[in-house]
């Protein structure tokens, strides 16, 4: 599998993400946001965490207008696999590849801690190696992670099994405790927690390894 990691000014989880992907056997190509075209034969695109463009205007809003995004949007619309983690999730929402918005945390604080995440019913490569209802530990680290969408959108997300990740104890005021959602075709995933931070046991857990392994084994 060949993964592309898109780097924006202010991305800061790209190196961990690269290590995580390499640990499950994927090759990685790093792509600067000013590129117009994606590298050839890329299988999956990752938008990493961080603070692209300093979170100015709204987190992810300016990155969503970067030159590479046109190619990413076309890639996604053609059925390509895309994963946005944390700031990457914000970029996916701002570019309308996923539905909803991420608001300031309810408690008005930057939250950085381990979080229990419930795996939802969702037939995707991201969750295939987990069982529905399984609890995993993924850390979160964000200021704007309170997921919001209209009631109509929420119903549609639930009805179509598009909520692969929910918080056990909602830390940020997210609607329906949502931690991550995916597209209708289950190929575009956005999530606030950081699985790339728990890939190696010596870093505090390996649930993230299972996540990346699920992607590569079921691709």
């Amino acid at each position: 599998m060949k993964s592309g990691i898109i780097i924006f000014p202010g991305s800061n989880c790209d190196n961990e993400l690269q290590k995580a992907l390499e640990s499950v056997g994927s090759s990685v190509i790093r792509v600067w946001h000013k590129e117009v075209n994606l590298p050839k034969n890329i299988d999956i695109i990752f938008l990493p965490g961080g603070f692209s463009f300093g979170d100015y205007l709204r987190p992810g809003a300016i990155a969503a207008k970067s030159p590479i995004l046109n190619s990413i949007i076309s890639f996604g619309k053609a059925g390509g696999y895309i994963v946005g983690i944390c700031n990457g999730f914000q970029v996916l929402l701002e570019s309308d590849l996923l539905t909803g918005a991420l608001l300031r945390n309810k408690n008005q604080k930057f939250i950085c801690k381990d979080e229990k995440i419930i795996i939802g019913a969702c037939d995707s490569i991201f969750t295939k190696n987990f069982t529905s209802g399984e609890l995993v530990n993924f850390p979160i680290a964000h200021n704007d992670g309170s997921y919001f969408c209209t009631d109509k959108s929420l119903k549609s997300l639930i009805d179509n099994d598009q909520i692969p990740f929910s918080y056990k104890e909602n830390p940020n005021g997210s609607k329906a405790s949502i931690a991550g959602i995916c597209s209708l075709n289950k190929r575009i995933l956005g999530l606030m927690p950081h699985p790339e931070r728990v890939v190696f046991e010596e870093n505090g857990g390996s649930d993230g390894f299972k996540f990346f392994n699920s992607i590569i084994e079921n691709f």
Partner: protein
């Protein structure tokens, strides 16, 4: 031409910044305040031949970048 774009969070969305400001005001004994909502003001200097053209330009910018309609509303004013 100077154009002002005021951006507000939708009224049904929780505004924790506004709440934090309100809490501080209450602590300072401004008891007459019942609620606070915080928004954004963006001032733009736009080349346009008339006000209508400037207004339409900023409206397009709001729709394409400056405002997220899922969570925000906006008002455009001149000068």
């Amino acid at each position: 031409m100077k154009v002002r774009l005021e951006i507000r969070l939708n009224s049904d969305i929780l505004d924790p910044q506004g709440d934090a400001i309100n809490n501080a005001l209450q602590q300072m004994n401004f008891k007459s305040v019942s609620s606070v909502r915080q928004g954004k003001l963006i001032e733009l200097d736009v080349k346009a031949s008339n006000q209508e053209e400037a207004h339409n330009l900023v409206k397009k910018m709001a729709e394409e970048l400056l405002v997220n309609p899922i969570m925000e509303t906006y008002i455009i004013s001149m000068g």
